[in-house]
Symmetry: C2
Subunit: 174 residues, 2 copies
């Protein structure tokens, strides 16, 4: 499927509602559960998505659109949420994510991006040249992959409780 | 994590809202997309969840609770949705799922299940004896595993569009 700005935005704008529907008001047994050592809980994942809104997608898009001499992205901190979410409730994080996502999609809409813009490139610290189109497609795929991750983390909590049905739920052993 | 009826119900009641937040109003490019031959699109998955509400979870629970001489479950038809969803819109399916799930959770609440009930057994056509507790835990794990599947199916649609970021998104190649 080719990247399409309207389809992409239509997914991106849903994610705050999806996370709220999945997690808001759920007990910490679910929201703090993870898949074992060094894996992430739904709470950690929401913090990670917030950090992306602040430092990744839109700031990198701005860097590309500016087409200045410095087009190299700051490396993304995959662990920032352990610091930044500290002391916050999940409800606060869900609000924060919703607010940031709405502001970022407003910025995106204001740019009125054309194919010419989407073809512009920045420099990824590991990959080298990447286009704005690829960056925005990754924003979408990253969102839905973390929604999938939350579903998987939750399913795994009942790995034992489902008894013999475990054989029909390969996700709990993935 | 041990099965707990309150925690389980709290997840089950969310699923119609989660699916609506993910899918309602999204273009068919997303909702009819799948992972290749003989895999399911989000549209197919919602139909499968509807069939479960009609024929699986609550009917099987009733069979267990009745403790009659016939405690063997009807085999579950994993392909019923290809027939039953035919000609329906995704919006209709989302409404239908929401209605059925609400009715089923109302039935579940009315039963006022105790540990004694949860320990009662039925006979699964493949596994043999299974408890009501295991059946209800599977209902929950099944829900969230299909939410995860929808996220994965969607992420895969941008497998090529993300360019080099594919290396950081293992889900698109799973």
């Amino acid at each position: 499927m080719d990247f399409n700005l309207i389809d992409a935005t239509n997914v991106l704008k849903r994610t705050p509602r999806v996370l709220r529907a999945m997690l808001d008001g759920l007990s910490p047994e679910w929201t703090d559960a993870n898949e074992g050592p060094d894996t992430w809980s739904p709470f950690v994942i929401v913090g990670h998505l917030i950090h992306g809104e602040r430092t990744d997608w839109i700031p990198r898009a701005q860097l590309i659109l500016a087409q200045g001499t410095a087009r190299r992205f700051e490396p993304y901190d995959r662990f920032a949420q352990f610091r930044e979410s500290h002391g916050k409730s999940l409800a606060e994080l869900l609000d924060e994510f919703e607010r940031l996502r709405a502001a970022n999609l407003a910025a995106l809409a204001e740019w009125r991006l054309t194919d010419r813009h989407l073809n512009l490139e920045g420099e990824h610290p590991a990959f080298g040249p990447v286009s704005l189109r690829q960056l925005l497609a990754t924003w979408v795929a990253h969102d839905v992959s973390h929604v999938a991750q939350i579903g998987r983390v939750m399913a795994k909590q009942y790995r034992e409780a489902v008894g013999p049905w475990r054989a029909y739920l390969p996700i709990v052993d993935r």
